[in-house]
Symmetry: none
Subunit: 247 residues, 2 copies
DNA sequence: CGAAGTTCTGAGGCACCTCTCAAAACGGGG
DNA sequence: CCCCGTTTTGAGAGGTGCCTCAGAACTTCG
């Protein structure tokens, strides 16, 4: 079976072959990190540095989704989108955009089913948005059973509703807490180093130290483990693990 | 069958041929030690002293993994990474870096599935990280059956969860204890000298005496053999062995 | 514009980990 | 049975990792 590099079963196309994604960004470092992260999901990834290259690559690859920077050296991201849809109307597009840039034009996009994230973003966010897009477009399916959502023990996360419950009890989380927990829940019973967590959950341009991770772990513990059998465990010198209580 | 020099079945590529690893470091002594340790794992190893040589060797060898020093005489380790991924997107990279240089430039590395170890490191750590990388990338498989983890008698180690159980009972270990036990479990029924243990489990720059090994063996015994049939045995004048109880 | 919530920094402190020293226990050879 | 080298154990110093708290900077929303 097709799997992610973390060993978890990958999200695939309906026929079981790996999802195909095209990354379009003119910043080589960012493109490198993005393609790496998406490959890590078990997907087939290709990169392009400008609009012309993107359209050429898209004709060749026929991707299921495109991660598309709005600002490209040769042409506007929206032009690329329009041209893409001419030949491949089914393709999903995830825009990458600066925070203060053209919110109005983006707003029209999301109506068409596409989505966007603002720079600087975290990799978990990009991956989550992409998975959401593909799932809603019916272009992806989880292998085997029906989508059970994210479940670890009695801890349940509904990504669409952005709701988390433990033992049926609703838990309110801030945005960062939510993303951290999602990352932990996508990798249960695996020790995750602070560096790994920082790289995936925090924005790529975050300069701070790993101390923040400890802080947010402590926030999560207060909300999730408070007065209960703990699910978040510290592994000294290695990182943190999320485990169901009944090991 | 392809085997390690210790007689244990080697981790191989999916087609059964030996894994191919490229070691890139400008310190000849360190490169020598590393290539030796990786060859000992039954892998096909080649060394390069700078970035240019590394890229050339990679084109020729098409390695499954690259052990890459961040500081190279001719070019940045990250440039090497990007160039490598251009031609061989599937390759895994394990970075070697100084402890205080970590935070700034390593950022983003673990997101793509790659990993790093800080100098000074132990050989067991490098090997373990590499095995983890290759296993998760689906690029390596254990010969014959599915990955059972590390099992000796009723002693079981889950490397991902960093968990050790004996007869189902969870045993808490410090980082050094864990690495020592991993080394013993990877070489069961084999007498390991204190010098061997020191060379593999402790960092290469460790100046202390072999007395630490005795000390840590005693710690392990207290946790693993406590009140049970002993698995760790002393072979006077030779070293230590880990054996299942029913010999 | 003000209030509430969120994110991050820095300092303090506790607990654990690692290693050294010293002495006791063990085991084999005479 | 005793001696001597080897191994084990105990106590403790020093360092490090991790957690908590308090508050400052920033954002969001009314």
């Amino acid at each position: 079976m097709n799997t992610t590099r973390s060993g978890r079963p990958a999200l695939t196309r309906p026929d079981g072959t790996p999802l195909r994604v095209l990354v379009v960004d003119d910043d080589p470092d960012l493109a490198e990190v993005l393609t790496g992260a998406l490959r890590y999901e078990g997907w087939q990834v290709r990169a392009a540095a400008d609009g012309a290259a993107a359209l050429a690559a898209a004709r060749e690859l026929t991707p299921d989704a495109v991660v598309l920077d709005v600002m490209l050296p040769d042409m506007d991201g929206f032009t690329v989108l329009r041209r893409l849809h001419e030949t491949q109307p089914e393709v999903c597009v995830l825009f990458l955009t600066a925070r203060d840039a053209v919110e109005d034009r983006i707003a029209g996009i999301t109506a068409g089913g596409d989505d966007y994230v603002t720079k600087p973003f975290s990799l978990e966010e990009v991956v989550a948005r992409l998975r959401g897009l593909l799932r809603r477009a019916g272009m992806a399916r989880r292998p085997e059973e029906e989508d059970p959502g994210l479940v670890v023990g009695d801890l349940v996360m509904d990504e669409d509703a952005r709701e988390v419950t433990r033992a049926g009890e609703l838990i309110e989380l801030s945005p960062t807490e939510f993303e951290l927990l999602r990352f932990l829940m996508r990798n249960p019973r695996r020790v995750l180093s602070k560096a790994q967590i920082l790289d995936r959950v925090w924005s790529y341009d975050f300069g701070g130290r790993a101390h923040v991770v400890e802080l947010y772990i402590s926030y999560l513990r207060k909300k999730i483990d408070a007065g209960r059998e703990p699910m978040i465990h510290t592994v000294r010198g290695a990182g943190y693990v999320l485990k169901p209580v009944t090991t």
